[in-house]
């Protein structure tokens, strides 16, 4: 009689013995015993359950994460997202956004991520590492005319339509970078006509005055004629008008 090999017995235990082997097992006690041993071992393996890891692991890992987080500069996640976008949009020094005075805009801009996602721009933000993102920023700066057109129209749209004054304000600030482009100045001037938040009105006025943009004269005059405009704003507007004319 030819006995079965361990290989055959083990494989049979994993699946099922074929007819030939089954016949042999029925007749041969030695092989049957070994076969049953394989079945038993495999069964214990299958039945053995995973142990629950002790809680201490979680605490240690959480502590390590917290420590690591503290060691990363500008770690606050929302700041990071916003700073990455702003860096891209404006080329502002990231550090600027850590100043407490800018924090609000940055938080507000975070809500703009969804808007920005509509733009191809987001593809540029996709690269995983910081160095890759910096490369993207450099590229954008190198190819400024083509890329920033898309960015500018997004920012203009944000400036004109966003529900949040903080976001509109941040968009205005971001647009300052492109003030040397006439089309930007004209759109800022047009925007000034229907902005109602004094802070945004002020920032637009100051940008346009600094850029010596005569197109700002008309909206500034309208603002001066608006009985509801705050006195302080009107003072600034008058000053701007004096400079421009």
């Amino acid at each position: 009689m030819i006995h079965a090999t361990d290989e055959q017995l083990y494989e049979a235990a994993e699946a099922h013995p074929d007819d030939e082997l089954a016949l042999h097992l029925a007749q041969c006690e030695a092989c049957r015993n070994r076969y049953e041993e394989y079945c038993a071992v495999l069964q214990v393996i299958t039945e053995s359950k995973d142990e629950e890891p002790p809680q201490s692991i979680r605490w240690e890992v959480e502590a390590a994460i917290a420590e690591e987080r503290a060691s990363i500069p500008r770690q606050k996640p929302y700041l990071q997202i916003a700073a990455a976008i702003l860096l891209l949009l404006t080329g502002y020094v990231v550090g600027t956004y850590l100043a407490p005075t800018h924090r609000k805009e940055v938080i507000a801009l975070q809500s703009q991520v969804s808007l920005l996602k509509e733009m191809a721009l987001v593809n540029a933000l996709e690269p995983q590492t910081a160095s890759e993102r910096i490369q993207v920023v450099n590229q954008i700066q190198a190819n400024e005319p083509t890329v920033s057109e898309k960015l500018i129209s997004t920012l203009i749209r944000t400036l004109n339509t966003d529900d949040s004054p903080n976001v509109r304000y941040a968009a205005a600030q971001a647009l300052e970078r492109y003030i040397h482009q006439e089309s930007v100045r004209l759109q800022l001037a047009a925007s000034l006509e229907f902005q109602t938040d004094p802070l945004i009105q002020l920032s637009l006025i100051s940008m346009l005055v600094e850029a010596q943009e005569k197109a700002a004269i008309k909206p500034i005059k309208e603002l001066l004629g608006n009985p509801n405009a705050p006195k302080e704003l009107k003072q600034q507007a008058q000053l701007a008008l004096d400079i421009l004319t």
Binding site: Y38, K49, R58, A64, I65, Q80
Partner: protein, 180 residues
């Protein structure tokens, strides 16, 4: 549904979104811990090794290659930990051999297994060489695909298959030896 993949989470961790590591921790800690437990048979050591794995994932996050399988990466880290563990153990044993007092480190910390049969299984496994034991853990307890194990061990699938078979044969022998 739209479950975030391990790889997406790890890529976020890589971008310093460290909170995402908690999600990966939830997904993997039990597997990694039990991988160590079965490989070393040592509860305390397994806890230490598990936390060390996740801390390495954290510290070396920049070296994760985006797009590559996270499971593969974390098990690579875990495997290295096991190797280190046995290297340490060997040095330890070598040091004590001269003194004729070899503490049985592997079995000194027996954990409460659900059943007598499982305890016997672990004892049998402890008799396997560490390398074979680890193979068995990956193939039979972690139910990792032969392809993945082959990848992890830089071996061919057929070689892994043969090794798993032989290891089970050995395991069977050790398991039933204990009865005598």
């Amino acid at each position: 549904m739209n479950k975030v993949t391990d790889e997406q989470l790890m890529e976020a961790v890589q971008r310093d979104k460290l909170d995402q590591l908690n999600v990966l921790f939830e997904r993997y800690q039990k597997r990694i811990y039990n991988y160590f437990l079965k490989s070393t048979g040592d509860v305390e050591e397994s806890a230490d090794l598990t936390q060390a794995v996740f801390i390495r994932v954290l510290k070396y996050r920049k070296s994760y290659r985006s797009g590559s399988a996270f499971e593969f990466w974390i098990f690579q880290i875990a495997r290295n930990q096991v190797k280190d563990h046995f290297r340490k153990l060997k040095v330890y044993k070598d040091q004590f051999t001269d003194l004729q007092t070899i503490p049985d480190v592997e079995e000194s910390d027996e954990y409460a297994l659900q059943s007598e049969r499982e305890r016997r299984l672990q004892l049998a496994m402890n008799q396997l060489p560490p390398d074979k034991r680890e193979l068995l853990v990956l193939a039979k307890f972690q139910n990792m695909k032969y392809e993945d194990i082959a990848n992890l061990r830089s071996a061919s699938v057929s070689a892994i298959k043969v090794q798993v078979h032989r290891t089970i044969q050995q395991l069977r022998a050790y398991y039933f030896e204990q009865e005598d």
